[in-house]
Amino acid sequence: MAVAAPLARPGVRLRPGLVLALLVLAVLVVAVAAPGLVTRIDPLAADPLRALAPPGAGHPLGTDHLGRDVLARVVHGARHSLGIGVLATALAVGAGSLLGLAAGLAGRLAGEALARVFDVLSTFPELLLALLVIAITGPGTWNVVAAIGIAQIPTYARVVRAQTFVVRRSGYVEQAVTFGHSRARVVARHVLPNVVGPVPVLATIGLGQAVIATSGLSFLGMGPQPPAPEWGTMLAESRDYLRVASWVAFSPGVALTLSVVCLTVAGRHLQRRFEGRTP
């Protein structure tokens, strides 16, 4: 034991980085739920006379090329950028888990067939799969949700199927069989909880990636259509003014980066907690 001890990884503590990440996420939740609490300025109100005004009184983060308040647009943009990410992740996790479970619990042939389908779909780069969906449906908020959600289904389905296999073959499931429990009971009591357990952890990390994908599609002009505020769209618009008005790019860029960093930090913490299984 003394040999193992120095090799053991240090336990998980509540580190300042995590606290900070959770605080930022709390602020983001407020921005999504009630942007009016943060700023009273209308994100769509254009004022051409004050276009590209630097940060200052009245516009703490400056204005964009149409004279719209950048702060208001960043705050209201959270609902689009994060909201789409959340919905897409929910779609991907929900459908992916169900399909993965089905493939893991189904009989040999059906399970294998489903698994091959996941394998093939996951060979497409996610962004291209999303673009394929958009090529069919056209751009727009809900289409982006569908595109990103569908593109990520195979990933979750594969993970859940693999996890189902591990659990199905585990010693404790075999043990439950020797007690004479019915198949339904073994699945409900042992297989499902142990398969579903890690899914929220995956989803937290996946949410960060979904937010990146959302802003990426919006950056390409496939997301919520102008004048709707969305961080990726704002960044795309700002590119032409980078030389004269860097603040237009700065705020949405920071908001986007910070959200994903915080989601990743929180997700990894959950993951370590989960793997360590400290009660």
Binding site: L7, A8, G171, Y172, T178, G180
Partner: protein
């Protein structure tokens, strides 16, 4: 520094062994009051150990897991581990003052002055490199022979450790070699730079008993050739044949130190006596733990005999002499490999049938067949004379409570989310909820565990406690047959003995039939009424345990028995 005082006092009560042997030759290694701690985790693994090794001498460090024996040995070549803090009042290695050594001095000593052989060459040799490359690495690092001569030297080294076809083996990877061959290759790499000292840390632990005997012989040969040996083992019997001197360690302290013969035949310290007594091969068919240990031992507590037990023993079999579980002509093949080949046995109520065999002999497959988890390709298992292996799972389910299993690693068989209480109550789904808790407490009591453990998670328990929980759970359905698949192999000897006692006690009270599977002949002999000896999926010998162990008929059984390391009488 209170520990030091205790330690000094402890060693004072022991025999007066001088750190420097009387011959006057300078020792290879002489360390006094060695202390190794790991500040990051707050563990002090070694707490004041003094040790010296003379040229050509074989010193054995013996202790259970966590005793600090490995850390002590590794500290002697500056490899105590990452973040280790090593202190000593005097520390001389290879003629230099190790207290002043920097990384470069240590590196010069490693390989050249002392070679290290670890357990299980499958992971102790780099699995991605050939055996030849691993041995050549030592030759190159210390420039033992010029580059063109190295392949020839590798060949010679492999030959010296008894590897046949050395040219072929040198080009192979560890996973392509058998356990014995790769352990030989590991030893070849350790002696490549002709070190004066060979440190062997559990060198035979992962090996089958016949292979273990070969490797021990090889190590004895090295000693005969003049190499000093430091042997680390959990098993006193393993070191008995080679060691000149034995040091017994416990909790980072040497509790006994003396000539091997004295320590093994006339131990002074209680702990050494307990270790010796716990070696099961020494004591067939009697209580294995004569020395009460610090942990709560259940045997002392009066266990209430369950009423109705005596009726339960026989109402099922119309013929009381009929077998509870019987197998006829069982065969199973995995792909082209036959794992179990035409095996038959009969297991009666209240009886223990031992199954011994080395790895790959088909023991575990036999357990799965008996449990009804694997369908045989041919043959049949019957339960109380009725069908068992041939039943569809739906009809086998109601019968399953009668046949329970205790696996080697209980942690694998516990749902990781569940507490001890839920684990033990899992088979009790027929009982109403409030009764389950009562019954769980009752079951824990039977295996000598306090009810406070109900809320614990298995990861928080010690190895012995975990195995007791597994036993309590297996008893929950009042089984008629308990299948024990290497139930004590992962446990320290003293804990092994307690668990074996518990099984024997349960059998005596409940009349349970035990199918006891193990690679350890001592353990099997200790518990069994009858034995099956398996080799390559076949039963080569079967009979009364006493008879088989005393007068083995099959050559393989004889070979097995001869290979078991023995304590001096």
């Amino acid at each position: 520094m209170t520990e030091v005082a205790i330690n000094r006092a402890g060693s004072a009560s022991g025999p007066a062994t001088a750190p420097v042997p009387a011959t006057g030759v300078a020792p290879l290694v002489a360390v006094e009051n060695l202390r190794v701690s790991f500040p990051a985790s707050g563990v002090e693994a070694v707490r004041g150990v003094s040790l010296s090794i003379a040229p050509g001498e074989c010193v054995a460090l013996v202790g259970e897991s966590g005793s600090g024996k490995s850390v002590t040995a590794r500290a002697l070549i500056g490899l105590a581990g990452p973040g280790a803090r090593v202190r000593a009042s005097a520390f001389r290695v290879g003629g230099g003052d190790a207290l002043t050594f920097g990384p470069r001095e240590w590196r010069r000593l490693r390989g050249r002055f002392a070679g290290l052989v670890l357990q299980d060459a499958l992971v102790s040799l780099d699995p991605l490199r050939t055996v030849g490359a691993e041995i050549t690495e030592v030759l190159a690092e210390h420039d033992v022979v010029p580059r063109p001569a190295r392949p020839e030297r590798v060949r010679a080294l492999l030959e010296a450790v008894g590897v046949r076809d050395p040219e072929v083996r040198a080009r192979q990877h560890p996973h392509q070699l058998s356990g014995g061959l790769r352990q030989r290759a590991l030893i070849a790499s350790a002696i490549a730079a002709e070190p004066e000292l060979l440190i062997a840390d559990e060198p035979t632990t992962a090996l089958d008993v016949t292979v273990q005997a070969q490797i021990l012989r090889l190590l004895a040969d090295r000693k005969a050739a003049g190499t000093a040996l430091l042997m680390i083992s959990h098993d006193l019997a393993v070191v008995a044949a080679v060691a000149d001197r034995v040091l017994v360690m416990r909790d980072g302290v040497v509790v006994e130190d003396g000539p091997a013969r004295e320590v093994l035949t006339a131990p002074r310290h209680d702990y050494t006596r307990a270790l010796l007594a716990a070696v099961p091969s020494a004591s067939p068919r009697r209580s294995a733990s004569p020395v009460p240990s610090a942990s709560p031992v259940p045997s002392a507590s009066p266990v209430p005999r369950r009423p109705g037990r005596s009726q339960k023993a026989d109402p099922h079999g119309a013929d009381p002499r009929g077998a509870v579980l019987a197998a006829t002509g069982l065969s199973v093949a995995y792909g082209s490999r036959t794992a179990v080949d035409d095996v038959s046995f009969r297991l009666h109520a209240g009886e223990t049938l031992g199954v011994v065999g080395e790895s790959g002999s088909g023991k575990t497959t036999l357990a799965r067949l008996a449990l009804g988890l694997l369908a045989p390709d041919a043959g049949e298992v019957t339960l109380r004379g009725g069908p068992w292996s041939g039943l569809p799972e739906r009809r086998r389910r109601p019968l399953r409570p009668a046949v329970q299993v205790i696996a080697q690693n209980p942690l694998d068989s516990f749902d990781p989310r569940h507490t001890v209480g839920r684990l033990v109550a899992d088979p009790l789904s027929a009982l109403p909820r409030p009764r389950r808790r009562e019954r769980a407490i009752e079951l824990l009591g039977r295996v000598g565990l306090p009810p406070e453990l109900l809320g614990r998670r298995p990861r928080e328990l010690s190895g012995g406690q975990r195995q007791r929980v597994a036993i309590a759970r297996a008893l929950a359905s009042r089984p008629e047959v308990l299948i024990c698949d290497e139930p004590v192999s992962a446990l320290d000897v003293s804990i092994q003995a307690q668990v074996l006692d518990l099984l024997a006690e349960i059998q005596a009270e409940d009349g349970t039939a035990l199918l006891f599977i193990s690679h350890d002949l001592g353990v099997v002999r200790h518990l069994s009424d009858r034995v099956l000896v398996m080799k390559d999926g076949r039963v080569v010998e079967e009979g009364d345990a006493h008879e088989v162990f005393l007068r083995p008929r099959h050559p393989y059984t004889r070979e097995l028995l001869a290979a078991v390391p023995r304590l001096p009488e």
